[in-house]
């Protein structure tokens, strides 16, 4: 790879798109307001609990112990769900999980399903798989519905439509729900969604959900939510299909009491979220009489095998690290090119898809450590970031062109090169050019090496033309001029 490409890469044409994004002041206003509001609320309710730090310790220890004995707990969970009348399925990959869910829905003959917001089903792109099979998934979380109607991607794990303002939402609803007179009052918009979805809740017979926690000891599954769409999906249909990453298990009933203190305070900044549902298999005469759970690996056992990276699996998806992150606040979620944005995304995505395909993400951080301080399960995000940066550098070493890589040189002793922005970005540019070989329409279709098998079943989103660092820098420059 010729270093000239650096100059081409940095020419003004490439930054046009980013400049446009920069001028999207609505996005930045929404983001700033959102993260500041949530941060303040979180700080207040966390300050209210005198034993917050011991709770975090307990959270961390429970998770570490679960991971160390995951085989024991997952078999126990399986046994107890089966004993309670549920059916347990296993999936190594996203494609396997999608196939299982599709077949289960086809067996019901239903052409529609209602969905509870679930990052795991976003991760495996369940909606696309279902649509390909002629099944229409209906998102029932207000923000997910907005995203679905706008044909967009989520930009925040908790508030996926955080980048949309009320007049944009009104326009979407006016069109999709045939309500020309709808105003942009949040109350009216919520009421419109209520009416629109009520009809679906009452008629659609199959639902899918994710899970926040599952208790090995009792076989219970837990979903935490606000709007009541979760309760609807978990209660009204005849058939319920839950897709859950294998890391969501907790060993004992009491453990859930710890996480039900940590999660709501960390995520929405409330003492408790409006609704939490806990069910154990099938309850005769109450709720779905057919319950399936798909236990999903999809890269998680690889993360489990890395002694530093393993703590990433402790994540309870509260989004506190995202809300506190100065980088996220300025860039928004889409810059991370993954369903998992922010600091957690910066460590989780590269581990799930391989550092060679998300090489810039471990650098999407200033290592300020704020994310570690707020994390309710004490995931040392900076430590994992540095660990992954090391892996990125090592991987480059193992390639023939490794010696050309200014970043490798920097890490092996020449600190001044590492500190040189041009050289560093040159390294990233090379990674991107190498990736070109495999990219079609923004997705990596035939990844090299072990990734080939993975991408054969699931399209990987490619590193954007503009790396995180470039975007970040240009945003700062724009700010300086603003």
């Amino acid at each position: 790879m010729k270093p000239d490409s650096v100059i081409i890469e940095l020419s003004p044409e490439f930054s046009v798109g980013a400049k446009q994004a920069l001028q999207n002041t609505q996005l930045r206003r929404n983001m700033g307001k959102a993260t500041q509001t949530i941060r303040a609320k979180r700080a207040t309710v966390v300050g209210e609990l005198p034993n917050w730090e011991s709770l975090r310790d307990a959270g961390e220890r429970i998770k570490a112990e679960t991971m160390a004995h995951l085989d024991v707990y997952i078999e126990r969970l399986e046994k107890n769900i089966q004993a309670a009348g549920g059916t347990v399925h296993w999936a190594s990959t996203a494609a396997q999980a999608n196939e299982i869910v599709t077949k289960l829905i086809q067996a019901t003959k239903s052409k529609h399903i209602i969905k509870v917001k679930s990052l795991t089903t976003d991760e495996i792109r369940l909606n696309e798989a279902l649509e390909a099979a002629g099944i229409t998934p209906i998102e029932t979380d207000l923000a997910e519905l907005i995203i679905q109607l706008a044909h967009e991607k989520s930009s925040h794990i908790l508030v996926p439509a955080i980048h949309k303002n009320r007049s944009e939402i009104r326009e979407l609803f006016q069109k999709a729900m045939h309500l020309p007179d709808l105003t942009d009052e949040p109350k009216e918009l919520a009421a419109a969604a209520r009416t629109f979805l009520r009809e679906k809740f009452m008629t659609v017979k199959v639902a899918t959900s994710g899970a926040n926690f599952a208790i090995a000891e009792t076989g219970s599954v837990c979903v935490v939510e606000s709007e009541g769409n979760g309760r609807m999906c978990l209660t009204l249909p005849d058939v319920l299909i839950t897709v859950m990453g294998i890391e969501k298990i907790l060993p004992r009933w009491e453990d859930l009491g710890v996480f039900m203190q940590l999660l709501p305070r960390s995520s929405t900044g409330e003492r408790m979220n409006p609704y939490t549902s806990i069910w154990t298999g099938v309850h005769p005469g109450d709720g779905p009489q057919e319950f399936h759970i798909v236990l999903l690996d999809n890269g998680r056992t690889q993360v489990l095998g890395d002694s530093v990276g393993r703590q990433t699996l402790h994540c309870i998806r509260c989004s506190a690290c995202i809300n506190i992150c100065p980088v996220y606040e300025r860039t928004g979620g889409h810059a991370y090119g993954s369903v998992y944005p922010g600091p957690i995304g910066a460590i989780l995505t590269p581990q799930l898809v391989g550092t060679e395909h998300a090489a810039s993400l471990p650098y999407a951080s200033s290592l300020c450590g704020a994310c570690y301080d707020v994390c309710p399960v004490k995931i040392n995000i900076p430590e994992v970031l540095v660990h992954l940066r090391g892996r990125v550098v090592r991987e480059k070493h193992s390639h023939v062109s490794g010696w050309l890589d200014p970043e490798s040189i920097g890490m092996s002793g020449l600190g001044q090169v590492f500190g040189n922005r041009m050289a560093y970005e040159g390294a990233q540019t090379m990674g991107k050019l190498a990736q070109w070989l495999f990219v079609h329409d923004g997705y990596i279709e035939n990844g090299p090496g072990p990734l080939g098998a993975w991408t054969a079943m699931r399209d990987l989103q490619a590193i954007p033309d503009q790396t995180f660092r470039q975007w970040w820098r240009e945003r700062n420059e724009h700010d300086d001029h603003a």
Partner: protein, 216 residues
């Protein structure tokens, strides 16, 4: 499917064999947490009431003897046709405009003006109510579809902390695999520009009557 199962289990075992394996725990780390200092019974109820109302739910008080009347007063405000669980105490419903849930259809439940239920317990620290399908609580759909939920919480069932609630609920799970619903205020969303809007899909109005509160 069996092969995938074995594959995932083998991958987990391979991954955990490489790392350190801290001792297998027989008790929950949750029990190591220091217990909160106890509150007086009246302070406990006061905290519960205050925190429930912070979620914009109405809170009232009654004695056991006056409960039927207290419920009737609230129901007179919002409509004429309410639903109650099949095993709702008979002495409470006699004079009230309530239909028992004897296999009501979803549409019947949804068209009611509201639902009245008892509860399993209350959590003071978080202002939460827990339903565990016990006496007077009914199946889950009953307290979900109507737009108004009037919930009766006995003062003696209120605990201070979340862990205490989980301790008490263990029996419901283990003995009868009860479905649980934690309710903290009416349904809400902050998905539109982070404005909290009460009421999306669950009951938009939640009211709580605390029964036999000490010192009242």
């Amino acid at each position: 499917m069996t092969t995938t199962r074995n594959q995932v289990l083998a991958d987990i075992r391979a991954a955990t064999a490489r790392g350190e394996r801290p001792g297998h725990q027989t008790h929950s780390f949750a029990t190591d947490l220091q217990a909160e200092a106890a509150l007086s019974p009246s302070a406990l109820v006061h905290m519960f009431a205050e925190r429930v109302s912070e979620y914009k739910a109405w809170v009232g008080y009654s004695t056991s003897a006056g409960l039927s009347e207290a419920i009737g007063e609230r129901l007179a405000l919002y409509g004429t046709r309410y639903v109650v669980p099949a095993d709702f105490p008979a002495d409470l419903v006699q004079q009230l405009p309530c239909v028992r849930d004897e296999q009501l259809s979803h549409a019947d439940i949804a068209s009611a003006d509201g639902v009245v239920s008892l509860s399993a317990l209350g959590i003071a620290q978080t202002g939460s109510i827990v339903l565990d399908a016990g006496v007077g609580q009914g199946r889950r759909v009953l307290t979900l579809l109507p737009d108004y939920h009037l919930c009766v919480v006995y003062a003696a069932s209120i605990v201070l902390t979340v862990p205490e609630a989980f301790e008490r609920l263990r029996a419901s799970i283990q003995e009868r695999r009860a479905p649980l619903t934690f309710i903290s205020g009416p349904s809400a969303t902050s998905d539109i520009e982070l404005n909290r809007v009460e009421g999306v899909h669950g009951p938009r109005r939640l009211e709580v009557i605390i029964v036999d509160a000490p010192g009242r």
